[in-house]
Subunit: 206 residues, 2 copies
């Protein structure tokens, strides 16, 4: 059965990006360090059309599994704007991506199967379309934090994964900022660790 | 070799206590839930003189190991004030506890080997005394967050453990609030998970 999930990297102090992020500073000051473990892996580098990377380890396997389960993405406008300026021509999705924005824009097709659709519909209707596109696969709420919060508040998240990098950021964008604690109950599904990162996977309890 | 460490339970969103904590509301609103996994274990209940609890599982073993390594504690005044009003007669330490406070007060001896010493010396001098008391065992910086921050800022922490409960608190006291990210570099030492909590252990890199 198709699931709705989010999957984000964080610092140990809970930030998904550093401060001062934007087109010219993707992921904010120091934010890229959250994803050092990913950039070391072949499975992630491939999604960006990059050479090299490690294989045959837990981190690489986990990235492979995540990308394999995604049939469609939903993301906020700010994440898209930042990504648009920085993703390579082969954007790292390979499936439809719904961008929540009031800006009218025609679908934008990229190499490798990524198509960005721009929509100002409510999140329930957008999710319906993403689910239709995803078929048996899952729908990933890609981010940023505000978009994830909207889906949590609406009770639409069924699973989530957090990859905790062994760094502090001290400031920036917190994953769980402004989330009502009563909106998200969950249990531990899986914990996997490598020398570089700790992968936590949770199932939401309705 | 004797080590200086801290060891705290947090919510998934990084709080070590809920809001509105104090004598009459230890750990703040909802904060006790951070420690549900501990109260289920015999090894923790014993430190409080409580009956019952589970044995023969990872959580119980980890608590046993932690208490076994502690030769002395250092804690902030607010943590003491909250604890003083709520700990049972057999306080859950069994070793010397240095309380950082400007209040003059004679040492306070409790059942089971706990002795509270009240001091307004600087943290370096307090640590010297705690280390002397601890001998081959380790010194735990017990909390709260502000006291832990002082020891991090001074570069005195050598290891730390975080036990992440599968809950959100949304507000309260954050473990890593106000910590300069450049003051704490670390690597992953050990990750152990149970259905109730995820135990992360880090070694500080100088």
């Amino acid at each position: 059965m198709s699931k709705v999930f989010f999957d984000v990297g964080t610092s140990l102090d809970g930030f998904i990006a550093g401060p001062n992020g934007g087109r010219a500073n993707p992921l904010g000051d120091g934010g890229i360090k959250i994803h050092d473990w990913m950039f070391a892996q072949k499975s992630f580098r491939q999604t960006l059309g990059m050479e090299g990377g490690e294989t045959g380890n837990k981190d690489n396997d986990i990235i492979e599994k995540i990308f394999d389960r995604i049939g469609a993405n939903i993301m906020g406008k700010r994440m898209f704007v930042e990504g648009e300026a920085n993703w390579p021509e082969k954007a790292p999705f390979g499936v439809p991506v719904y961008v929540l924005t009031h800006q009218k824009r025609d679908p934008w097709e990229r190499k490798g199967g990524t198509v960005f659709y721009f929509t100002d519909e409510n999140i329930y209707d957008v999710l319906k379309k993403a689910k239709r596109d995803a078929g048996e696969k899952d729908v990933r709420i890609s981010g940023g934090a505000d978009t994830i919060r909207q889906f949590i508040d609406a009770g639409l998240i069924e699973e989530f994964s957090i990859h905790i990098a062994p760094i502090l950021l001290s400031s920036g964008v917190r994953l769980f900022d402004g989330i009502d604690r009563d909106k998200l109950s969950f249990r531990i599904l899986e914990v996997i660790s490598s020398p570089n990162v700790t992968h936590l996977k949770y199932r939401v309890i309705k």
